[in-house]
């Protein structure tokens, strides 16, 4: 084509490869950015690898926290103890979401007959958000079985879980409530104008939008729950933190704790990335284009 139009190839718009000036510029920019990022990462990594072992005391730090031998003997034990953490999380999380939703809905209902429930819901969130998780666990986990309950109703698993559910539901309820309140009044007007009752409006219009909006903060709370499950170790169950503590004492070495930390990270980092992906997918699905 260029040959048929005299002087076309001399125009600044395209070069020999057929790319526009803009495309050529952006290509150069991308290459340059990649080169700079790679170089700086390599430099920093090299400095860490070279300098850190030369610091005074590194040998002690390494022996105490990163002992390969201790790690390889304790890590499998830690992993199997971690199954308990996952189990406790797995039955607590649905209970927390359900109870949190219930409390949030009770707080936003305006019917006068339900006023006692509103009052209860408000008091509940105030109380349990105001108490440290660990205190709730000690109080419920030691306190309730201490009333003289028989097996299996005195299980620390049971009461530890109850404590977590009580505490986290309060946080999750507030997240749901914020979501419910973020749905614009015009959505309610739209639904009510069609003759939907206030319950139907809540169920079909407000809650679905509220829940979608709060998925990221909700997942924050669940990741946080995944970690706080370890606090149950204080009332007895041998889960990963407790197991790491036992191994720490046995080998007089902190490596098992580092191993436990590693296990938590292996779970929580993919969890958060998965949530990011979910949110991005939802946005793509309903808007067509991703807004950067």
């Amino acid at each position: 084509m260029n040959a048929t139009v005299p002087g076309m190839s001399d125009l600044p718009g395209t070069d020999a490869s057929g790319r526009t000036r803009r495309q050529e510029f952006e290509r150069r920019q991308r290459r340059r950015a990649l080169a700079v990022a790679t170089t700086s990462t390599l430099v920093v990594a090299a400095l860490v690898v070279i300098l850190v072992p030369r610091t005074p005391g590194w040998y002690k730090v390494k022996r105490s926290f990163f002992d390969v031998e201790v790690f390889s003997t304790t890590f499998p034990r830690l992993l199997s103890a971690f199954v308990k953490d996952v189990q406790i999380f797995a039955w607590c999380a649905p209970c927390i979401l359900a109870l949190g939703m219930l409390i949030a809905v009770l707080r936003s209902v305006r019917a006068p007959a339900l006023f006692p429930f509103r009052l209860f819901a408000a008091a509940y969130t105030d109380v349990f958000r105001g108490i440290p998780v660990i205190l709730t666990i000690l109080l419920v986990g030691f306190g309730v079985p201490g009333l003289g309950l028989d097996r299996p109703y005195n299980s620390p698993y049971l009461w530890g879980s109850v404590a977590l559910v009580l505490n986290y539901s309060a946080y999750v309820a507030e997240v749901f409530r914020a979501g419910i309140e973020s749905v614009h009044e015009s959505q309610r007007a739209g639904a009510r104008s069609l003759g939907l009752s206030s319950a139907s409006t809540l169920r079909h219009v407000v809650l679905p939008q509220a829940v979608r909006r709060v998925i990221p903060p909700l997942m924050n709370d669940l990741v946080s729950l995944q970690k706080d499950v370890a606090l149950i170790s204080l009332i007895g169950p041998i889960e990963v933190l407790r197991q790491a503590g036992i191994d720490k004492s046995k080998y007089a070495n902190f490596t098992p704790y580092v191993g436990a930390a590693l296990i938590f990270l292996l779970l929580t980092i993919p969890e958060t990335r998965f949530v990011d992906w979910l949110v991005a997918r939802e946005r793509r699905r309903t808007t067509g284009t991703a807004v950067r």
Partner: protein, 246 residues
């Protein structure tokens, strides 16, 4: 009379928004409410749809006092359709789900039948291809046509249109007005608040000019635009003309 308002009063706190509105709408009549922003047009429509309770006066639908405090409002609202300036579509639902929600949940129509009816409504408004789209994927004009279809799916006896073209780009206004023209042809009783004077003149049997919560003048469309009787009506129309909107 299909719809009657008798001396309707409404205030938000100390601010009176409607001060003694009386208006009769006959079966299949189209009435346009015109007036400056804040004159009470939208509030009037919201009161008729019971989205706002009125302070005093009576609203009658087919002779039934729907302003009676304590009346089951949901049963009344399903007989009165309302379309909003900002569409108020449900963004988490497809177009089809938006249109079928109320028939299914309120009228208990089964899913297949509700979808059939929704599809034919959407086809009628040129939206056959968009049934599976989400509101955010549509243009403003398309969204507003979906909103009208959603309202019509309840087979209302009266339609209230609250400045339904005000949020649209100028080139999209026409497609929405076409839908309203079609509704008039089908004999729908309509009460519409609008800033589109040309359209009000074309489609309305009667035009009411509202100012500070009162109906200042109410007359046949042609009369009000060509021979306004009241000084405030003349001033308003003059401002609209000066702004190039008539």
């Amino acid at each position: 009379m299909k719809l009657s308002l008798r001396d309707v009063h409404k205030a938000f706190g100390p601010r009176a928004v409607l001060s003694g509105i009386s208006l009769d709408v006959a079966q299949s009549e189209v009435i346009a409410l015109i007036g400056a922003s804040g004159s009470g047009k939208s509030t009037l429509l919201r009161c008729v749809n019971l989205l706002e309770p009125i302070d005093d006066g009576v609203i009658l639908l087919d002779g039934l006092d729907i302003s009676e405090p304590g009346l089951a409002a949901d049963a009344i609202r399903r007989r009165i359709g309302m379309v909003f300036q900002s569409f108020n579509l449900f963004p988490h639902m497809s177009v089809l789900a938006n249109v079928t929600l109320a028939p299914r949940k309120v009228l208990k129509v089964d899913k297949a039948e509700a979808e059939d009816r929704a599809r034919s409504l959407l086809t009628r408004f040129g939206l056959a291809e968009r049934v599976d789209s989400f509101p955010d994927q549509l243009s403003g004009g398309q969204q507003q046509r979906v909103a009208i279809a959603r309202s019509l799916a309840m087979e209302p006896e009266v339609m209230l249109l609250d400045e339904i073209t005000s949020a649209l780009d100028p080139e999209l206004v026409g497609e929405v007005l076409d839908v309203v023209r079609e509704l008039k042809t089908s004999g729908m009783t309509m009460l519409l608040a609008t800033h589109e004077m040309g359209f009000a003149r074309e489609i309305a049997d009667r035009v009411c000019f509202l100012d500070r919560g009162e109906i200042i003048e109410s007359a046949a469309a042609r009369d009000i635009f060509e021979r306004p009787q009241h000084e405030r009506t003349r001033q308003f129309l003059q401002r609209v003309t000066d702004a190039g909107r008539l």
